[in-house]
Symmetry: C2
Subunit: 177 residues, 2 copies
DNA sequence: GTCTATACGTTGATAGAC
DNA sequence: GTCTATCAACGTATAGAC
């Protein structure tokens, strides 16, 4: 017998991710999540120690993937930008949630970690000086904004990806191959 | 006799802008604002009808300036990008607050307005097709990210501005003059 | 203009029955 | 695993004295 969605924990994560993405973390109450699942708030506490714990369980796969990427960055700038785009695309649900309520990064206490990670990619992409970093910020930041502003566009992973990577590459100031 | 900071209302706005920028809107309580001012929570309600009203009073000048710019856009892409940067720079305090907690845009009920305004600038800068808009998003988004990530850098308005505008211009794909 | 006091809702979280 | 019941803490907002 195939089990479809029997796992309450996984369902709660799905619903939470969706609500966080639209309302933001703080604006989403556990009552609301429980309500959608048709269970009580207290039942949620059987599956998650706290609200922050639920959030952490969503962000964790994202963090793991980022670690993997930044530990093994491609040599070519274009490949790096594509890998970055694809990674953010895969985790676009939780990415939207974070963008919607950046303050959660404080709660997660991973702000320093994020800065370190971004800096590593920035330097690898553009170089160590401030001017280099500015170019990297425009490129990566712009690329990421694409994922947010075209979040609902069905062509996000194809047409838009290609055009966005091209634009980011130009922003970087890398001579065309 | 010179009046320095006698106006409680203005002081409240100053403190609120600062707290919103660091904690985000929802995370900032009126008690905290009142506490910093050395007055009571209730006293705040003399100056502002509600918490949302206080927020609106901060965002209003930003909105006004954006209206002015988008009603009279420069002809040259570079000038447009510079004007956009300078506008965001002038209002960087409240901009940071919004970024910190994008959900406030729902509260302000200006989401549709923002989308319309961004679209207008995007089209003027790059053109009407989706591909055009992607380039514009990378350019403007990247530019704006610069203001956030280098918010504390003293060279933001000078060196960084120049480098960022150049990068955004390249992202746009405009042939160098 | 600012205060104290208070009303009233909602939140995250816990205890204990089933 | 899920429930009901309950908690303390904090939120916005109001009433009325000074």
């Amino acid at each position: 017998m195939p089990r479809l969605t029997t796992d309450t924990r996984a369902q709660a994560q799905r619903v939470a991710a969706e609500l966080f993405a639209t309302r933001g973390y703080e604006q989403t109450s556990l009552s609301e999540i429980a309500g959608r699942l048709g269970i009580s708030k207290a039942a949620l506490y059987y599956h998650f120690r706290s609200k922050g714990d639920l959030l952490r369980s969503l962000v964790e796969p994202f963090v793991t993937d980022i670690e993997a990427l930044s530990a093994d960055l491609p040599a070519e700038p274009r490949a790096t930008l594509e890998a970055f785009f694809d990674l953010c695309y895969r985790h676009r649900a939780i990415l939207l949630g974070i963008v919607r309520d950046v303050a959660v990064l404080n709660e997660l206490k991973i702000v320093d970690w994020i800065i370190a990670w971004r800096t590593r990619i920035d330097v690898a992409l553009a170089g160590p000086t401030t001017a280099d970093r500015v170019r990297a910020v425009v490129a990566l930041g712009g690329l990421q904004d694409t994922l947010i502003l075209f979040a609902d566009d069905p062509e996000l992973a194809t047409t838009i990806r290609a055009e966005a990577v091209d634009a980011a590459l130009r922003a970087l100031g890398v001579p065309p191959a």
